[in-house]
Amino acid sequence: MKSIEVKNLTKKFGDFISVNDISFDVYKGEIFGFLGANGAGKSTTIKMLCGILEPTSGDALVSGFSIDKDPESVKKNIGYMSQKFSLYGDLTVNENLNFFGGIYGLEGSILEKRKDWALKISGLENKGNILTSTLSVGFKQRLALGAAVMHEPKIVFLDEPTGGVDPVSRRKFWDLIHEISDKGMTVFVTTHYLDEAEFCNRIILINAGKLIASGSPAELKEEFIESTVLEIVCDDTIAVTELLSDEDYSQNVSVFGNSIHLILKKKYSENSEELDVIKRSISEKTGRQDNVKINIILPSLEDVFLNLLEKRE
């Protein structure tokens, strides 16, 4: 079932085309990643999908409502949370939840029930009376998510939700996201942190207002990485990097901490004869260093993203 249907969405500011004829679908209960560098058109798209910015042409159905014809219904049926968008620090946890519940028109026993739920998922049961500013970033983040979905919207938009938090809080946050999407809520995540995108079921990538790739993280890695990447662990990384950069098989060589990442010109299978030849050549270059190790490494989404953008330049 489609939760969001975007059709030829376009936004111009004067002569500048911020979003250029993009179309895609998001399915119910999916964690959907919307990626792009700064200035790619992400914020403009989100604003349109949340019903707060009118498209120049095209349309999108969000939870069945047209962003062009019925933006008010769109606003009522979504939740929104951002790292920048914060709760009120000088209100208590309960007061914040009352405030957001009020905005969404919740009252009486429904409000109480939803408040209990928000406290529970953020790990703040029996802590409703403490001042929000005294909470750690991780708790604030989960509380902000709870507040954003108190009215049980079918879709929640998360705008760079976990930048800068500690890995444990981030882990808890994503476990929570998986839990709410498992119950059928669609989660739409925008981010330029590629490791955050690994948590998404499906991803689209936009650049200069245009959609340039879509698929699951594994599909994108399979489709857009056309060459094998080797990790070479050795002592004198800088000297070895210079030796390798002139070789015929080298596409790109870069120092990566105490190892070297070598992008080859082609994709080789793991046990192929050709790859063995290359490995032997590398061993010769690194000379008599004892602890040299050469391994194939799996590309990250960051590799995919950079590869795609470089090709477009």
């Binding site: 930048g163 800068g164 890995p167 998986h178 948590f199 993280p217 950079l306």
Partner: protein
């Protein structure tokens, strides 16, 4: 001696809060040294103390090695500091900003070095732009060029890649690797565990405490952790099955799962069979080296942080 800077028993309190709780480590020459930890770990406070911008309650920062060659009290011109906030003059051009910093540090013939740095940071085409008109990534590179104009021996970079997009981030990394060839020691802080994998040596911090140090591979090896990565469909059902039947931490990603074992772990085929018996389609299953993120989580949850 290959130590550029020694940090010895640094303590700093802000009121009741222990911002830095007895921190000690050595920074080796010509390496990229990383201070890694989430917001509030104490990274910025420590960097400011190391640069002499803030006084520690006790402990000391020892630049003996640099001072012995340059003379005592000459340390200010030998260190560079890039703060988290953009601190250049937005109404001056790229060229003028560099010139200004060169003047402050009494550098006479800076023109050749400036051209070199602009080439190096790929800012040459933008040299007559006002700094305020540059993108976030370009501003960072300009700030770095300004710091390098007086040829410091050690540079301190406080979260230079926070909020910077992946393309600029990778470019910044290439520039830093290049700097090592000029015999510069680099200290860099970051909240991103994936970025920390690129450092030569790291110190992990949390809540003002040092929780682990070493090269990324040393830190991982010390943990005795094993990670099994499983790409499968439907990933949510697989998660529930594994949570119930396998004695490990299970982390779910968009299209795969990681099982994180401490100590003993089962055979890959055993896990594959269990999933396939439950109608899960497994497209890839393999052991992999734990990430620094896995390590950090384990340290925090086992109470060592």
């Amino acid at each position: 001696m290959d130590t550029a800077v020694s940090v010895k028993n640094i303590v700093k309190k802000f009121g009741e809060v222990n911002a830095l709780d007895d921190i000690s480590f050595n920074i080796k020459k010509n390496k990229i040294f990383g201070l890694v930890g989430p917001d509030g770990a104490g990274k910025t406070t420590l960097i400011r103390i190391m640069c002499g911008l803030l006084k520690a309650d006790s402990g000391e920062v020892d630049f003996t090695e640099i001072e012995s060659t340059k003379g005592k009290g000459k340390i200010k011109n030998e260190i560079g500091y890039l703060s988290q906030k953009f601190s250049l003059y937005t109404d001056l051009t790229v060229d003028e900003n560099i010139e200004f910093i060169a003047d402050i540090h009494g550098v006479k013939n800076y023109q050749t070095r400036r051209d070199e740095l602009l080439q190096f940071t790929r800012l040459k085409d933008f040299r007559h732009f006002q700094a305020g008109k540059l993108s976030g990534g370009m501003k960072q590179k300009l700030a770095l060029a300004c710091t390098l104009i007086y040829r410091p021996k050690v540079i301190f970079l406080d979260e230079p890649t926070t909020g910077v997009d992946p393309v600029s981030r990778r470019e910044f990394w290439i520039i830093l690797s290049g700097l090592l060839k000029e015999n510069i020691t680099i200290l860099i802080s970051t909240p991103y565990m994936d970025e920390a994998e690129r450092f030569n040596y790291i110190v992990m911090m949390n809540n003002g405490k040092l929780i682990s140090e070493g090269t990324p591979s040393e830190i991982k090896a010390a943990m005795n952790m094993t990670v099994m990565e499983i790409v499968c469909i439907p990933v949510r059902d697989a998660y529930k099955i594994l949570k119930k039947n396998v004695n490990s931490d299970v982390q779910m990603f968009g299209d795969r799962l990681n099982l994180i074992f401490k100590g003993d772990f089962p055979e890959v085929n055993q896990v594959r069979e269990m999933l396939e018996n439950n109608k899960i389609i497994v497209s890839d299953i393999r052991m992999k080296i734990p990430s620094l993120e896995n390590v950090f989580i384990e340290l925090m949850e086992s109470g060592n942080a």
